[in-house]
């Protein structure tokens, strides 16, 4: 449905594209701080526009007859394959995209402001801001996509901006390797995504989200009938699309790039690798939820299992890591796993769609508190110049504001009421409980583990024993603290938003309540985790060492991230490089090329033989000529008499 009154929304991403171009092209000539302020200013405009859009969509005219409308605010033809199959670039407004607008612009704005302080004096400051603009532009483009191919386009663009930002410190080999890994792993997943799109479009004949996700439309019924290897084609294509989503959202086993991506500047981790880009996969599944639910329910269940498994897997690893950013990275993976789990068990209409709503709710909350946690971590790193947990301790006196903000973040993620995480996690657990008991118990456990590792971090950084620091740690500048305070407030209160009034799979609002029967055990297990962490890490003690020692092999495996990286390394280095690529290069040089050279050599050889006739001996030529002539005459005279 076209709606012209929202056509200004196209400016929300475009402003940032221009910001990218201006800062990117003029970057070298501007004073660094000027490009920073430029970028922030442009983003501020976008943010204001987004808030205005959200306000008018949710509270003024988004609803019609009690149902939220999917509005096409802008549409233009970008590329035409056939008369029917076209790529449009457009703006689709519906509850989740408007919600994402708010999330992205808010977090991004905070990160922009934060970075003014954090990145001050770094080389490549302008470059940093131009890439931030590029990223925000692409991310906004992604969520506003009206077309699955448009999603793919921006999907790739966020991938590349992530690559560029992870590799910000490009002189550090580890950063280069990490950025490369991130890009290639997600690229591999995107290949699945692309094939999924191709498969989907070839059966439904459209890329358009509105046509694809229309529950009464023809798109959903096509392709379900044809099956391949026991699953319907629709299921296959949706699984492939999920592969793309899993790559971006770091689902097991494609999660390996995210911890390494922490090589990038910390604000980047907060923006891209915690709040926005990594949840793009969740967003994509939510965007195509109707298709999953009606045409590929098997794929949906699969997503639920993958998400839940990943959340446990990552949570366990998070308990053993000592790099604070990596702990947060694994925590992100774990939380995204929960969101995927929530989506996987969701129903479609009315309160059955709680899983969907909860998942989006959690996405929203997670963006706030995880960005907060990362920015706090950034503030800590800024103060002590190390990422290593055991090199920190006793910082609560030096960094009071950061301390409080971090505490709020930890409480939020652990699901302690009345902070935001409590509400969304409770809804997810409720939804899972009603659908699948196994998944419920796993997620319930994850909630406890989450509280444990988060408070392990908290106590490790801020309590524990005071360490020796090269320079006395000091609180961060105002721009950074402003972002921390803003996000703290947000994380505290966003949980009170009645999300089910806004975001539901069938676009019809419903009212949800807190299920205390599930909420209370969840709070209890979170508190248990908290207390455990308190006991083990409040003061320096050998308790944790003894525990890890007694767990032995399990602990080491978790510490080594279950050797997944090593497996990948083995596959890429030994299998692909050594046993495919190098042999092909050898084959090309030695077999294919030598065949060609061999043909040349044979020609050469033959001609060397033939040239012996050309001896330069005049008499030999004459002799051949004479005898040849005689023979020809003989033949002509005696054998060709007719």
């Amino acid at each position: 449905m076209m709606n012209d009154s929202y056509s200004y929304t196209v400016a929300i991403p475009l402003i940032l594209f221009f910001s990218f171009l201006i800062i990117g092209l003029a970057g070298g000539k501007l004073k660094p701080i000027v490009s920073g302020i430029f970028g922030t200013f442009f983003l501020l405009i976008s943010t204001a526009l987004s808030y205005y859009t959200a306000y008018s969509y949710f509270f003024v005219d988004g609803k019609s007859n009690g149902v939220y409308q999917q509005l096409i605010a802008y549409d233009s033809l970008w590329l035409q394959f056939t008369d029917k199959l076209q790529i449009h670039v457009g703006v689709l407004l519906d509850p989740i995209s408007v919600m994402m607008l708010v999330v992205i612009t808010t977090v991004s704005l905070m990160v922009h402001i934060y970075s003014l302080g954090y990145m001050k004096g770094e080389v490549g400051f302008s470059r940093y801001y131009s890439f931030l603009s590029l990223f925000t532009f692409s991310m906004l483009g992604l969520v506003l996509s009206s077309n699955i191919f448009q999603t793919y386009i921006f999907w790739e663009l966020v991938g590349v901006s992530s690559y560029l930002l992870i590799g910000h410190y490009y002189e550090r080999p580890s950063a280069v390797a990490a950025s490369k890994k991130a890009f290639i792993v997600t690229r591999f997943a995107d290949m699945g995504f692309l094939v999924g799109i191709l498969l989907l479009s070839s059966f439904t004949g459209t890329f358009d989200f509105l046509k694809l996700t229309d529950p009464n439309g023809s798109a959903l019924t096509q392709g379900s009938a044809i099956s391949f290897l026991g699953l319907s084609v629709m299921t296959w294509s949706m699984l492939l699309v999920f592969m793309g989503a899993a790559g971006k959202s770091a689902m097991f086993p494609l999660h390996i790039w995210l911890p390494d991506a922490m090589e990038g500047p910390t604000p980047v981790s907060a923006l891209i690798h915690a709040a926005t880009m990594v949840v793009a996969g969740v967003y994509l599944v939510a965007r195509l939820f109707t298709v999953y639910f009606f045409a590929a329910p098997d794929a949906l269940i699969f997503i639920g299992y993958v998400g839940t498994f990943t959340s446990l897997f990552a949570a366990v690893i998070a308990c053993t890591q000592t790099d604070i950013k990596r702990v947060l990275a694994f925590s992100t993976i774990s939380q995204i796993g929960l969101m995927m789990g929530g989506l996987g068990v969701s129903g479609y209409s009315g309160p059955e769609g709680l899983g969907y709503t909860a998942s989006m709710f959690h996405l929203f909350n997670h963006a706030m508190f995880k960005a907060l946690l990362f920015l706090c971590a950034g503030s800590v790193i800024h103060a002590v110049h190390t990422n290593e947990l055991w090199d920190m301790g006793g910082l609560k006196k030096h960094l009071p504001v950061t301390h409080i903000a971090f505490l709020i973040g930890c409480l939020g993620i652990s699901g302690v009421p009345p902070l935001s995480g409590f509400f969304s996690k409770d809804e997810i657990l409720t939804a899972v409980f009603e659908k699948n008991k196994l998944l419920f118990y796993v997620q319930f456990l994850v909630a406890g583990v989450t509280a444990f590792y988060m408070f392990r971090l908290y106590f490790g950084i801020f309590w524990n024993k005071q360490r020796e620091y090269h320079t006395k740690p000091h609180e961060s500048p105002f721009s950074m603290l402003f972002a921390l305070i803003f996000l703290s407030i947000a994380s505290t209160f966003v949980g009170l938003i009645p999300f089910s009034e806004f975001v539901t799979p069938d676009l019809k609002p419903f009212t949800s309540h807190i299920h205390w029967a599930i909420a209370i055990p969840a709070i209890i297990i979170a508190v248990i985790g908290l207390v455990l962490a308190f006991v083990m890490y409040r003061k320096e003690s050998d308790l944790s060492g003894r525990l890890s020692g007694s767990l032995g092999i399990l602990y080491r495996a978790a510490y080594k991230k279950f050797y997944i990286d090593e497996i990948y390394l083995f596959i890429t280095k030994n299998v692909i490089f050594k046993h495919i690529s190098a042999p092909i290069a050898w084959f090309d040089r030695n077999v294919v090329d030598n065949t060609m050279n061999g043909i040349a050599a044979i020609t050469n050889f033959v001609s060397m033989r033939i040239r012996a006739f050309q001896s330069g001996q005049l008499q030999q030529y004459a002799y051949v000529m004479v005898s040849g002539l005689v023979i020809i005459v003989l033949v002509a005279l005696y054998f060709m008499k007719t």
């Binding site: 001996q617 008499q619 004459a622 002799y623 004479v626």
Partner: protein, 105 residues
């Protein structure tokens, strides 16, 4: 008179002379002697021309003139050939045909 000699005799004579010339051309290694063999061949041809003119076309002189032109051409040929032989001799101090095999491959 000449009627007593058949044209075959002339032809056989010239054939023999021709092949003697060819034999010389094939076996003599000295370029000058090869040149002489060529002269033999040319002369053999001349005899044929003249004989045919005499026996079958006495009313005009085509064979006769051809023989004359052959003689003229033989003269030019010898002149050029000897020039080549001499300059060759200056260059490589030999006129042995087997040594003159630069023009190969």
């Amino acid at each position: 008179m000449i009627e007593n000699i058949g044209i075959e005799q002339f032809l056989i004579l010239s054939t023999l002379m021709f092949f003697i010339g060819v034999y010389g051309f094939l076996v003599r290694k000295n370029l000058i002697t090869m040149l002489m063999s060529v002269e033999l061949i040319l002369n053999a041809v001349n005899i044929n021309f003249v004989a045919f003119n005499k026996y079958y076309y006495p009313e005009n002189l085509q064979g006769h003139f051809f023989a004359m032109f052959v003689i003229a051409i033989a003269a030019t040929e010898v002149a050029v050939a000897i020039a080549i032989i001499i300059s060759l001799y200056r260059k490589i101090r030999t006129i042995d045909v087997e040594q003159v095999d630069e023009m190969k491959y």
